[in-house]
Amino acid sequence: MAEVNTGDGGGHGKHEKKRAKKSSTRIDMTPMVDLAFLLLTFFVLTSTFSKPKAMEINFPADSKDRSKDQKVNNAITFIMTKDNGVFYYNGEFYPPNNKDAKPPTELTKTDFSKEGIHKLLLDRYKPTLDAIAILDKRFKSKEIVDTTYKRLINLEKGNKDALTVLIKADDKAIYKNVIDLIDELNVCLVGKYAVVDMMPTELELLNITNK
């Protein structure tokens, strides 16, 4: 560009020559910048920030043995079924015409909305939650230290009178509902919960209730 302007138009040529001389000391960075931005765009678009999260859960060694000598003071059992259905009953399960002559257990329908399981859990778990709230207050006012606070909370969660939640699912329940329930339990700070197998009598009752 710059070297052909020897003959034509004096003023103009002079001007161009001058500018060319001046700019020759600088490197044209445009291609490099183009490339940099191209790479930048590429990495912005392809990089994934969300590392997978996980929740840890323990499963009982053999759920069959467990359900036999299950002696829980304060239990609630959730049963998942098809179409996001979830039922619950309190305490122990009594089939119709049981030998203790107790009234047979009835299943109550609930759902995953705020008014459903969440409210129910907060309600049933209130004694422990109240105790935890007191601990929270003591911790905030620096009455107890960090480790003591954690220990006391775990003690409170593992208290034998604290609510125990049993989670059962039938053949048509989907995995998401189970996770949603466990998540809800974690949110409500429930310490004692287990995913266990259904008893045949429960399944029978479920099939009758969920027609």
Partner: protein, 213 residues
């Protein structure tokens, strides 16, 4: 200013651009192509998944896929599986297998699956790893993977001790990554495979819930 230079000084911008490029290059991890896309349910758990993990993926049809992270452990596990099920894998196939991610084919067709190229693998229909009590291949994969991982950790520990370096032993963890739409019964089957091997603690992989509390 009639004679001011029309070109901008781009240096700060370029500096910034390269800084960002460097940042993204260093933080980015290459997305691996999995044979199946799984839509995990969301939860409020913010625990990160441990690095050293045996991962069983369950898709929405209930088929199981197996994955183990470590390159050497993968090769060893494949050798053990090959010996168990009388399938011979040559060196090339072992190397290729070590580079793969999750797979969901029974050991009988694994050889063909390994010999496909990446696109072929993605296009191939995975029947899932058999896990019923008669043909519990998933259980064997888990068992061998676990043994080999423990062995490798031991050799690393010995090596570290010889060089008098500190070694942080991290036991292998077990993770289940299931699709939210999968039937719970399928997940339960996989859990049973684990509990039969006396593994009771799992990480269930979830997405972090979007703030709708």
């Amino acid at each position: 200013m009639p004679k001011s230079n029309p070109s901008l000084d781009m240096t700060p911008m370029v500096d910034l651009a390269f800084l960002l490029v460097t940042f993204f290059m260093l933080t980015a991890s290459a997305r691996v192509s999995e044979p199946v896309v799984v839509d995990t349910p969301s939860s409020n758990s913010d625990k990160l998944l441990p690095e050293n993990v045996i991962l069983v993926t369950i898709d929405d049809k209930g088929k199981a896929y197996y994955n183990i992270n470590n390159y050497d452990v993968r090769i060893k596990t494949l050798e053990r599986m090959g010996a168990q099920y009388k399938v011979d894998f040559n060196e090339k196939e072992k190397k290729e297998f070590a580079k793969m991610t999750s797979f969901g084919v029974p050991i009988e067709t694994l050889k063909q699956y390994i010999n496909m190229d990446e696109n072929g693998r993605l296009a191939a229909k995975s029947p899932g790893i058999p896990l019923d009590s008669l043909n519990n291949q998933l259980g064997d994969w888990i068992q061998f993977g676990r043994i080999e991982a423990a062995k490798q950790a031991k050799t690393q520990k010995d090596k570290a001790e010889k060089a008098s370096r500190a070694f942080k032993y991290e036991p292998i963890r077990f993770a289940i990554k299931a699709d939210g739409k999968a039937n719970y019964i399928n997940v339960k089957q996989v859990i049973k495979v684990f509990t039969d091997k006396e593994i009771y603690r799992f990480n269930l992989i979830t997405n972090l819930e979007k703030g709708n509390e």
